[in-house]
């Protein structure tokens, strides 16, 4: 029987090294895997991790891919710090894209300077609206936000599909489910010529800095951290819990909404049925991989974006299947959780009777939850 036993004090250094260790173990497993598949492992690894960013074009594409993930993940770091589990970044992103598109389609023949700010604000409003519903349900009815936000992801997707197949469909598009292309005034300006890097990246980096300051220097940030660490302590100190929940959820929702409008008004340029390949979900992995710290999240976002692009590159260059991308992402999360558990706990072989087995299982569960927090 294997038992998990707390190690006592948790090493701060190790908790930071854990993601790096996880990344190394993922690479190592990758090497073994490629060897078994009969692919030159070194070539495979460089194709996935280096080739996509070997030139300026590749680096620019990495930034394009990272922008929406970063916006979602940095927002999630705030709610997760408060121990509020917003799994709904995907839905909030979709609503942001939908609201932003609706606004952009009102200004198809308008090249004024106020169009883009209105489009962006509409996108943020979409995210706020969707996260706001989850916040009201949680604060007023004590509903579990994990369930509501997950369910609302599907509702958001179906509303978006309805809109793009219905009222927002391009009237000249032969009934194909796409909106008209936005006018240039509603499109985020490109930051670097001949690339697709757009103003959304600047907004995302701005958000990272702002949230860093908010969480480490402001009183609100302090309150959120206390709320996450000990809810009753926060209540005893007179913090207004409900207000903090609203604040954290709306902040992450608004940023996810911005991510969504940044995609439709950025590289896509119109509303289509599939504006996100799951950025909102990837952002959850990214937030934990980055230890809910702004700097860590930036690094984790880059790694996640690179894995997506590496998967494409492995198909083009080596003919490896796409499942590889998901496999790598899964391995990464698995190793991270494993490292976290083993950093907080030590394995002990015991000769206990089966009766204690459920207790050991419970211990494992708590270990994972604690390691995540």
């Amino acid at each position: 029987m294997i038992k998990l036993e707390p190690r006592g004090e948790r090493s701060r250094l190790m908790s930071w090294l854990s993601p790096i260790l996880a990344a190394l173990l993922t690479m190592l497993t990758g090497l073994v895997l490629f060897t078994l598949l009969g692919v030159d492992p070194w070539q495979a690894l460089t194709t996935i991790l280096y080739k996509p960013i070997a030139d300026t074009y590749g680096l620019a594409e990495l930034a394009v891919k990272a922008t929406p993930i970063l916006l979602c993940a940095i927002g999630l770091s705030v709610v997760f710090k408060a121990q509020i589990w917003n799994i709904g970044a995907e839905g909030q992103l979709l609503m942001g894209g939908l609201f932003g598109s609706y606004m952009a389609l009102q200004f198809l023949d308008n090249d004024s300077g106020y169009v883009l700010p209105m489009v962006l604000l509409a996108g943020v409003a979409g995210g706020l609206f969707w996260a706001g519903i989850a916040a009201i349900l949680k604060v007023q009815f004590n509903t579990n936000e994990i369930l509501t936000t997950i369910m609302m992801n599907y509702i958001a997707l179906n509303i978006l599909l309805w809109a793009v197949h219905g009222p927002l469909k391009d009237p000249e598009g032969f009934n194909f489910p796409e909106s008209a292309m936005f006018s240039q005034s509603a499109i985020l300006p490109v930051l670097i010529d001949d690339t697709r890097v757009h103003f959304g990246l600047a907004l995302a980096l701005l958000a990272v800095v702002a949230i860093w300051v908010l969480m480490s220097r402001s009183f609100v940030g302090f309150q959120i951290r206390v709320l996450g660490l000990d809810r009753s302590a926060a209540r005893l100190s007179g913090f207004r819990e409900k207000r903090l929940i609203y604040f954290a959820l709306l902040l992450s929702g608004g940023l996810a909404g911005l991510a969504g409008v940044g995609e439709v008004a950025g590289p896509i340029g119109q509303l289509i049925p599939s504006i996100s390949p799951g950025y909102g979900y990837a952002a959850i992995i990214v937030a934990f991989l980055g230890r809910l710290h702004p700097l860590g999240i930036v690094l984790a976002t880059l790694l996640m974006a690179l894995l997506y692009m590496g998967g494409e590159m492995a198909q083009i260059e080596l003919g490896l299947p796409l499942a590889l991308t998901s496999l790598f992402q899964g391995l990464l999360l698995f190793y991270l959780l494993a490292c976290d558990v083993l950093i907080g706990f030590r394995l002990r072989l015991t000769t206990s009777k089966p009766a204690t087995a459920p207790a050991a299982a419970v211990a494992t569960d708590t270990a994972v939850i604690e390691a995540r927090g």
Partner: protein, 362 residues
């Protein structure tokens, strides 16, 4: 370098040296690079699977004269543009993007790579180095409509429709025209599922129609779910995109199969010859793009024979469902006697023919 290539190179260099020629002869041996972008996994047994079968038959045809690359499961969003551009950057000479949602990304990349040829399936935007291709699925659907009209006992035919785009509307119309001609008592029931591939929804639609007495199901979606549902309940069904016989051996009347191989072979050859030109290509039974591989043995011999006759007629042009006079389902004359709809008309079709008791969803 692969060994075979090395031998060729060696042979080329030796021959060149002997004849006093330089290397261009060897250079011509360099394979033509062909890229494919799929929206689904190649294992979907529907749309992307059929395109990949087309890629494989092009490979079998050309051998080491071409080198193909595919990228599967490409999301129709911001990623598509990067994938297409990466294929262009990797030196592909012609790139096939096989889903409607890749249209605008393909247009953008085609602008940046004027020397690379692009072909986009099912779209409507063209440029000098960007062509489109689409199959006349309605030809197969007409034969399916005829067989359905003969096999139904309840006189209720079901149609699982994906999206109200012109392709789907004209195929629904073709089936209605076949029913009107060969069994005027048969009625067409249409269910919109708003998806190309969702086994759950497709099965629900099939079951709902069978509850209403439908006994032959046609589908304009890609999963075999309706076929399986029909098999369980003893109804008939028509397969789409790939041969679906084994999903319902008793229910399966026939499948209308998309064969992309001939198109790919033809177009790759054109690039090799230097004769490739951008155009909107439409191919059907005559070109081998739409195929009905076989008929269920339970179909009476005279019906099978007539169906084969129709196929021959479609191939030689004597059978064409969209020949006037045609009225829409509100009684307005749309195609006067003696005229025919062109494919350009069909590409914009947004009305139901006479006899369909339904409205097109807006």
């Amino acid at each position: 370098m692969k060994r075979r290539q090395f031998h060729k190179l060696l042979a080329g260099v030796v021959a060149g040296a002997m004849l006093g020629l330089s290397v261009p002869a060897v250079h011509a041996e360099e394979p033509l690079k062909v890229g494919f972008v799929y929206v689904g996994p190649i294992g979907d047994h529907g749309w992307s699977y059929q395109h990949d079968q087309g890629r494989l038959s092009a490979e079998a045809h050309f051998g080491d004269k071409i080198k193909t690359t595919y990228v599967e499961n490409v999301a129709e969003g911001a990623d598509a543009e990067r994938v297409i551009r990466n294929l262009a950057k990797a030196g592909n000479d012609i790139i096939f993007t096989t889903s409607f949602g890749f249209m605008n990304p393909t247009v953008k990349v085609a602008k940046q790579f004027p020397n690379v040829k692009f072909e986009h399936a099912t779209g409507y935007k063209l440029s000098d180095n960007l062509g489109t291709y689409v199959s006349k699925t309605y030809e197969g659907r007409y034969v399916a409509g005829y067989v359905a009209s003969q096999m139904t006992k309840t006189n209720k035919i079901g149609y699982i429709a994906s999206f109200p785009i012109p392709e789907v509307i004209r195929d629904i119309n073709t089936v209605q025209l076949a029913l009107a001609k060969y069994n005027p008592n048969a009625e067409l029931k249409i269910v919109w599922v708003n998806t190309w591939f969702d086994p759950g929804k497709e099965a629900d639609a099939a079951n709902a129609m069978m509850d209403q007495g439908v006994d032959v199901i046609l589908q304009h979606t890609d999963s075999p779910a309706a076929m399986q549902a029909a098999e369980r309940r003893g109804a008939f069904a028509v397969g789409q995109a790939s041969d679906m016989t084994h999903f319902g051996p008793k229910a399966h009347l026939l499948s209308v199969v998309d064969e992309w191989g001939p198109h790919y072979i033809n177009r790759i050859q054109a690039v090799m010859d230097g004769s490739w030109k951008s155009s909107a290509m439409v191919e059907g039974m005559k070109e081998g793009a739409i195929v009905i591989p076989g008929f269920n043995e339970s179909i009476p011999a005279d019906v099978t024979a007539k169906a084969k006759e129709l196929i021959a007629g479609i191939k030689d042009g004597s059978v064409y469902p969209f020949t006037g006079p045609l009225k829409d389902n509100k009684g307005e004359m749309k195609v006067p006697e003696g005229t025919k709809l062109t494919f350009a008309d069909l590409e914009k079709m947004d009305w139901y023919v006479e006899g369909i008791k339904a409205e097109i969803p807006k």
